[in-house]
């Protein structure tokens, strides 16, 4: 597989010039400079806290969205744009915004208020140690698998840029990330993520502008897509039958709203520690609640510069046209190559260097988030709370260092698993259906139902995961006639339903925790006053109200859906 890719992608090679490399080098200089300054100025936790405290909430919000705006998101969503057209916007508008708003308004008071440092630790408080440990292990495995996808994505970029085969590019890329995380450290992460956000935009905006220019503007794109193999259907978001592969439009809409919009996206955004970690570090409850909602504004607008270039790739580039006509890989080129091919064909030297820097930035955003949250959960929830409790601080610090190295090495292995996937986004959605949907099921049940027991939590978690894996296997061996895409929707829904069902049954036969222990962890046992926040000082002003911002971003999404109906 990899050797085929390596040969075929020789014509994907970017013609980068000295100026381009200079621009990339300058970006790396800034990233490493931020890391260096963080090391120098953060010598105590107070410094650490203060640098966080001096940050306004919109910066935390951008870091929140940037942690999600990884290379796999870019490459995968552009691939989806090329393959499915406008319907890809569902991943953003129904698949992210409502969940982000829900996280900010409903769940953040519990997360932030419980003072838990990680999602597994929250589970230990609400349920029991067993649930914490099982979720800790599942999260560690998931992080490494997803870090592998990011690594594979960076391998593709280095291959395109330098012409190295993937077998060389992937280990080298892992070393680059290791160096970056070692030098920059977690304390510099938020700064780098915000910087990455802007550089990624400096990649996407010119790509979209030039692309539209080449196809004759929006009208030219509409004309060409209509004439293409996908037809006019790819110009409308609803009912998205091609995306879900559910022929009946009504069922397709239900599939999108429940499968993608509810189970997959709520599972991802509200329980994925790599995301929640950003909001937990905010300076106040108000800022923590605003973090995901502020992040929702750029998230709502990003598909305009991701999905549209993907659609342009499918009508403008002969290679992607061939892939689309054949309905699969042609000469080793897949939809995943859309982004790099577009950069090669559309961007002259100069802006090409900025674009390469943006792509590398996107990669670092994704993988650094995976590795750092893996590191936290492994060291804290697994090693300290379980395997080797009661050691000195220095000891756990050493463990944390080694875990970072081991995490990067393991990610090299999982990168090669990812390289076998046709469409990276299908692969990642399948992973989310295994790991996030069952977690969300027990999370939401535990939040609203005080009867739910600890035993029910981990049994529900495991049976949900088994259900999702079972669906994936049925799809893989063609027992269920679904595409990978639709398979992960069904798998996530199955995981959620099985998780909730099993947890409810087990709870009824067990003894719930005493209510006094559940204050601040269960909705009905938490007084309204501790679910709200102060609006004084830096949190004052009507424009800092989480509710108002939430309403505004929901209106924005409705308007966008009306435009791209």
């Amino acid at each position: 597989m990899t050797s085929i890719l390596a040969q075929a992608n020789a014509d994907v090679r970017l013609d980068a010039s000295a100026v381009d490399y200079l621009l990339v080098a300058f970006y790396f200089l800034l990233v490493l400079g931020i890391g260096y300054m963080a090391r120098r100025s953060v010598s105590s936790s107070l410094d650490f806290l203060l640098s966080g405290r001096s940050m306004p909430a919109w910066v935390t919000g951008l870091a929140f969205i940037s942690a999600n705006l990884g290379a796999l998101e870019l490459i995968g969503m552009m691939a989806n744009g090329a393959q499915y057209g406008i319907a890809t916007v569902h991943y953003y508008w129904i698949g992210a915004i409502p969940a982000m708003v829900f996280l900010g308004l409903v769940m953040m008071p519990f997360y932030y208020g419980s003072k838990a440092r990680s999602v597994p630790e929250f589970l230990a408080k609400r349920f029991n140690r067993t649930t914490q440990r099982i979720q800790g292990v599942i999260f560690a495995v998931a992080s490494i698998l997803i870090a592998g996808v990011n690594l594979f994505a960076l391998g593709l970029i280095i291959e395109a840029l330098l012409g190295w085969p993937l077998t060389v590019a992937i280990p080298v890329a892992a070393l680059v990330v290791l160096a970056y995380t070692t030098l920059g450290g977690l304390s510099a992460a938020i700064y780098n993520e915000v910087l990455q956000f802007f550089v990624i935009l400096a990649l996407l905006i010119p790509l979209t502008l030039v692309g539209l220019n080449r196809v004759g503007g929006w009208n030219g794109l509409v004309e060409k897509v209509t004439a293409g193999p996908g037809g006019a259907e790819q110009l409308s978001s609803w009912p998205g039958t091609e995306l879900t592969e559910i022929a009946n439009p009504v069922l397709s809409v239900i599939g999108i709203v429940f499968g993608l919009g509810f189970v997959l996206s709520f599972g991802y955004w509200t329980t994925n520690f790599a995301e929640v970690q950003r909001a937990l570090s905010a300076k106040s409850m108000s800022a923590a609640r605003r973090t995901p909602i502020i992040g929702a504004f750029p998230k709502a607008l990003i598909p305009l510069v991701v999905v549209i270039p993907g659609m342009i790739a499918a009508v403008l580039l002969p290679q992607i046209q061939a892939v689309k006509a054949a309905g699969g890989s042609v000469n080793g080129i897949t939809y995943n190559d859309s982004l790099t091919l577009l950069m090669k064909d559309l961007l002259p030297n100069g802006i090409l260097g900025v674009a390469i820097a943006g792509l590398l930035a996107a990669f670092m955003a994704g993988m650094a988030a995976n590795i750092s949250s893996f590191n936290t959960v492994f060291t804290y929830d697994l090693w300290q709370d379980w395997i080797r409790p009661g050691k000195s601080d220095r000891y756990y610090l050493q463990v944390g260092r080694w875990v970072t190295v081991i995490g990067c090495v393991l990610a090299i292995g999982t990168a090669f698993i990812a390289s076998g996937s046709q469409n990276l986004m299908d692969y990642i959605q399948a992973l989310f259906s295994f790991f996030n949907a069952p977690l969300f099921a027990i999370f939401i049940l535990g939040l609203f139902w005080k009867r739910m027991t600890g035993t029910a939590a981990w049994i529900g978690l495991l049976s949900g995961t088994v259900a999702a894996v079972a669906v994936d296997l049925l799809v893989r061996f063609d027992v269920l006639q679904l595409s990978n895409q639709a398979g992960s929707f069904v798998g996530a829904s199955a995981a959620f339903i099985v998780g909730v069902g099993v947890a409810a049954l087990v709870s009824l036969s067990g003894q719930p925790k005493p209510e006094a222990e559940l204050t601040g962890l269960v909705w009905s046992l938490t007084p309204r006053s501790s679910r709200t926040h102060t609006a004084e000082g830096d949190d004052a002003g009507w424009y800092r109200s989480p509710q108002l911002l939430a309403v505004l971003v929901l209106i924005l999404v409705v308007v966008l859906y009306i435009i791209f109906l």
């Binding site: 100025s41 990680s118 977690l186 304390s187 905006i205 220019n213 944390g400 970072t404």
Partner: protein, 116 residues
């Protein structure tokens, strides 16, 4: 690495440490160096200038064929300089305030871990 481990190290780097090292330390210059807006302004200043020059002196027919006739380097260069200027203005008009003694005390007594 030291930094990354601090973030999730539950004891030792917590409030007690902060109390010892923090309250009487001068408001450090590092806090100002660390104004992210300056770094964003610097990034786009350099990128904007390079692209502007590229757009003015080295745009040839092959480049124009790629872009469908528009001088993207020039356009983006100007755009980035504007972004840089806006961030620069923001830094000048609303400088980062050094933390007050009150905030320092509050930070020290805060029992939230310095987690990320």
């Amino acid at each position: 690495m030291t930094d990354s481990s601090e973030g999730h190290n539950p004891a030792g780097t917590g409030p007690a440490d902060a109390m010892q090292t923090g309250t009487d330390a001068p408001p450090s210059a590092a806090a100002n160096l660390f104004d992210l807006r300056t770094i964003i302004a610097l990034l786009f200043l350099v990128y904007g200038l390079v692209l502007l020059i590229m757009g003015l002196v080295s745009t040839d027919a092959a480049d124009l064929a790629k872009t469908g006739g528009s001088n993207i380097n020039l356009d983006m260069g100007i755009g980035m300089l504007v972004v840089s200027l806006l961030f620069g203005l923001w830094v000048v008009l609303r400088p980062l305030k050094p933390p007050t003694a009150e905030q320092l005390a509050e930070a020290a007594s805060d029992d939230r871990p310095p987690g990320h």
